[in-house]
Subunit: 450 residues, 2 copies
Amino acid sequence: MVDPINIEDALQHIETLLAANDLDSAAEFLRSLHPADSAEILSTLEPDIQSALVARLQPTELAEVLGQMDEDDAAEVVQHMDVSALADVLDEMEPDVVADLLGELEPEAAHQLLQEMDEGEVVAPLMAYPEDSAGGIMNVAPPCLRRHMTVAEAFQFIKEHYQDANEIFYLYVLDRYGRLIGVVNLRALILAEPEQTIEEIMDRDVISVRVDADQEEVAQLLARYDLLALPVVDAEDKLVGIITVDDVVDVLEEEATEDIYRLAQVSEHAEIFSPITQAIRNRLPWLYINLGTAILASSVVSLFEETIAQVALLATFMPIVAGQGGNAGNQSMTIVVRSLALGEIDVDSAWKALRHELMLGLIHGVLLGVTIGLIAWFWKGNPWLGVIIGLAMLANLIIAAIVGVLVPTTLKRLKVDPALASSVFVTTATDVMGFAIFLGLATYFLNWLR
Amino acid sequence: MVDPINIEDALQHIETLLAANDLDSAAEFLRSLHPADSAEILSTLEPDIQSALVARLQPTELAEVLGQMDEDDAAEVVQHMDVSALADVLDEMEPDVVADLLGELEPEAAHQLLQEMDEGEVVAPLMAYPEDSAGGIMNVAPPCLRRHMTVAEAFQFIKEHYQDANEIFYLYVLDRYGRLIGVVNLRALILAEPEQTIEEIMDRDVISVRVDADQEEVAQLLARYDLLALPVVDAEDKLVGIITVDDVVDVLEEEATEDIYRLAQVSEHAEIFSPITQAIRNRLPWLYINLGTAILASSVVSLFEETIAQVALLATFMPIVAGQGGNAGNQSMTIVVRSLALGEIDVDSAWKALRHELMLGLIHGVLLGVTIGLIAWFWKGNPWLGVIIGLAMLANLIIAAIVGVLVPTTLKRLKVDPALASSVFVTTATDVMGFAIFLGLATYFLNWLR
């Protein structure tokens, strides 16, 4: 039984071998691991060492390892390989993975490889679809059954056509025009009598997706209906490909990471140990955008410097109102963004969500407003300060509810990823309005504060 | 072919039927949908209508619908059902789902149902494991092959023992002590000759998990090695259960949602249309915690009220330094939290991550410090103000890097979910230190600012 290996230990082992310049043993060690593990280790090595190790692997071995890498890492590993050697490797890989990999290369190099490959004409059509669409993640359609086949014939068909398949998820049934009319799972086939026809045992309710569907929608469908694979059809219901659950597991992790990073205002390409220049590109632009919005909020404060000079304790309470608005707005925004991503709401439910969040904002605003009002009163001994900060808190939490719903739903309506830019707008709104309302009220009632 | 239905339309349709008090047609409509869709619709209806509809469904129909619900929703739907009727329904469901559902009921009621059920002794052991462990999400072990069986015998075995299974993922091979020694996939079985033995065609490299492994680890293993199912073993390597990829897809979505919500300081139970009282419970405690930390930060500002009274424009710049620290700290923290969740780093890599983030904090701090310094100088005409705010910015970004790494890794080391509480600590640190350093420097160099 194989226990999943400890990557840190494996890395250390290979580094020891490399330090001793024992490339053959290092290649041998890689070969002994699960391809997913070799892929991770190979990705972390220096380019010249990668090349040396890659040269020592058989095409089928390298194909398995490349199949487990992110396409950008894989593209880096193969970039110095000879065209015909690489074409042999690519012929051993799954066409959808090859299409993604080729998409990372220079168009010229990709074209040359497609020419050189035996399976070039299978891969080329897959490259036409956007990377994050059903077409972009699907694999070529598997060999399909016809409804008049008997179970015995189907077994024979599988023996002939699935010799090279890694796994059979479902067997699809097509009519004579190539349109999808049914599905049979292997269990049903095994349990059936040899002389039964496919038509008798097939399930006519096939859930499928259109080739232009978004990959997130595909993932939701598979998750919702607990499917192992989803057939992909074109506008005429003809089967053009298949998406399997293992691809979707990767999509789900990718999409979740993307949302988490975008909500935190980090590029979705961020990785914990990105090279520093890359890390700066992933994060600094967002910090500068935030600096811009912070200066905008500051310029609001700047309008009230006279008031603050007279009642300096306003500076003490100023960040509380803005900060609580930011936190509440962030809560509403995050729930809306995630619910949009999971398909639990669509933009048409925006009004319902707005009513819900406004009600919450009102209740939270009253409770937090009274709390901070009492604290301010007893801390600084001025009841009017309490009233002003309490009212400002209430107003800012209502604003937070409004922007927390309207910003992400509006971005979604404009076909922008709501996770991408919502934080900036929500924080700017709650900062600017938080400062303006609190300091504005304070200026208006200045005589009662002094 | 079935297109995935539009839930909004379906809801409207059933509401029309219910408004006309036509419960029979409503039940009929539910029956016509995919159980996943019926489950979603049923969850949104009022309790008395749920009961009326549930009473109109056959045990097998209800079992399918309940199997697609969250366990808390399912528990609500069944709470008023008669014990023996419910036991019949539960007997039709998958044991792992029943175990989760029973876990939501009163212990007394759960015990009574286990007694009443035919499958009670299959379900009971599953209830012993923590809900988020491998044991908590696994299903009972499927019937297994022995290595001396022939392929023909294996087919016969499947016909006898898998009559009721939904799906066959892999066939596992056990030795005489019940220990896992191999795995055969159905494709290999179909392609093999009838007289070959299982031993000849089985794969001895079986990846498995221990019954006490965390569900997140399980999800990572399945995703990493592209598996459809993972066998679960006890301390003696005996097969005790199986976790299938469809359960893991749900786990991945759950865990991602949990992380996203916790990072935004919302309870992981939040849903967009939670009842208001529930929504308040999910969010208000976090707002009060933040109010506490905001008051802490304010009390730092309060120490410098004298300085602010003399140089009111400090109030203008004060939020910028704290805010940028908060944003940068949030970036580091989010990347560390997500990398921990995906298993890309562990707590032992904390020092490496700290070095990386410190370097970034230094570079970002210098760039943002110079930028804001120049802006402050030209805006307010005082170069010393620029120097002070620039230095404060640099210092706070370095602090942000430190807390952004150390807070989540320390929480992880303490076995607390890093997503849960990191934001509070990071924001508190960057606010308190941002105000203290900026206003402290300003007080020290007060003569040059006036």
